[in-house]
Subunit: 225 residues, 2 copies
């Protein structure tokens, strides 16, 4: 059974890939070079895919910078030290417009070519840092659309499922699940604003959520030296 | 009022752009360099955008060849001389997996950055050459998903509409509409398999549907010399 697994190289997508592998899927990992300001996470994705035994790993080059407007692709400062109330209240400038929609669309194209029914994405609706395209209602609407978009859907041969095993988990739950699945935490990369040598900043939303997750799970984070 | 208009450089998308302009929209035309085997259509898109007074025209580079599996991106022969029954019965090898899903996802990203509510796409459900992602039910599902995917949707500021003015028109109707809107037919390009100098083959599905449209509308096609 084949599945396409979106893989950013972060903690969540790595755990999601490990989960799909444990479910018995032959995993086709898909990452994106979308003009993000740093490439550390693509290197992390490559190592994680290999460590977790993905059948294939491809990097799709797409230029989201032509539309601009995100701290992850433009020269806008990544916000630091936000508390959880702020994260839950405001959609941050690190939001890349329609990013998960675009990522899932590419995954759908590959799934169709592979004749895979399952697409795994490590989105999370609890500690989600305020992104609209991480919510269950978005995922359900995307799945519904997928089954109308594709040749296999029209011919009734397959039914595409967008699988989100982490969607209702807290960051601490994800860390515990990752540990149980032997996710190589030390290879993953979460920071939105690493330094030149790839070390995490420790203060962006992503670093803060990660640290909180490990702290609450009572597990040491191998990646934060 | 701003709108994002998908523009391939063909007859349908050019007519769709002209329609949006007549409706009073400030049009942001979006084309894709998706590894198609020929670039004649991108050149056509550039000229059409200019001729029809688009406010901006961008070409997003995305590599759909990494997934393979289409006569439009691979070295698979484009079928020639198919009759209409065959076109309506089978999804052809020129189908690019999830293409319209991917194109609309990018349009959604740009719409969000521009704070535009309207996205125009020249899909057509009658003479549609058998593509699943040209059907009204697909478009409706995409629109529904869009309003859950975006910051503006979540904040209730805007409502994204996917506009498909050609969806119920025959090719002849599109030709008549294009004429009434002064679409520069001679600048448009429809062929899936042009020769080295960009001349249409006259025998692929797209050329046959175009010729039929002009014939039934009783109008001469300036582009087919």
């Amino acid at each position: 059974m084949k599945a396409v697994c979106l893989l950013s190289g972060g903690l969540d997508s790595a755990t999601c890939l490990a989960y799909a592998r444990r479910e018995g899927f032959e995993c086709y990992a898909l990452s994106f070079d979308y003009g993000q300001r740093h490439h550390v996470e693509l290197e992390a994705a490559r190592k994680v895919a290999q460590a977790l035994g993905a059948a294939d790993h491809r990097v799709a080059r797409i230029d989201l910078r032509i539309f601009g407007h995100s701290a992850l692709t433009d020269n806008i400062a990544v916000p630091k030290g936000r508390d959880e109330a702020a994260m839950n209240r405001e959609i941050p400038v690190t939001y890349v417009p329609a990013r998960n929609t675009i990522f899932l669309s590419f995954a759908l194209a590959w799934a169709e070519v592979l004749e895979a029914n399952d697409i795994f994405i490590g989105v999370n609706a609890l500690d989600y840092s305020g992104y609209p395209d991480c919510r269950p209602e978005f995922i359900e609407a995307f799945e519904r659309m997928s089954n109308l978009a594709t040749k296999s859907g029209v011919e009734g041969r397959t039914r595409i499922r967008i699988r989100t095993p982490l969607i209702q988990l807290s960051k601490a739950d994800i860390v515990r699940l990752g540990r149980d699945l032997n996710v190589p935490f030390e290879l993953t990369h979460s920071c939105y604003d690493p330094d030149a040598s790839g070390r995490p900043c420790g203060a962006c939303d992503s670093c803060l959520l990660r640290a909180k997750g490990f702290r609450e799970a009572g597990i040491a984070d191998g990646a934060c030296a």
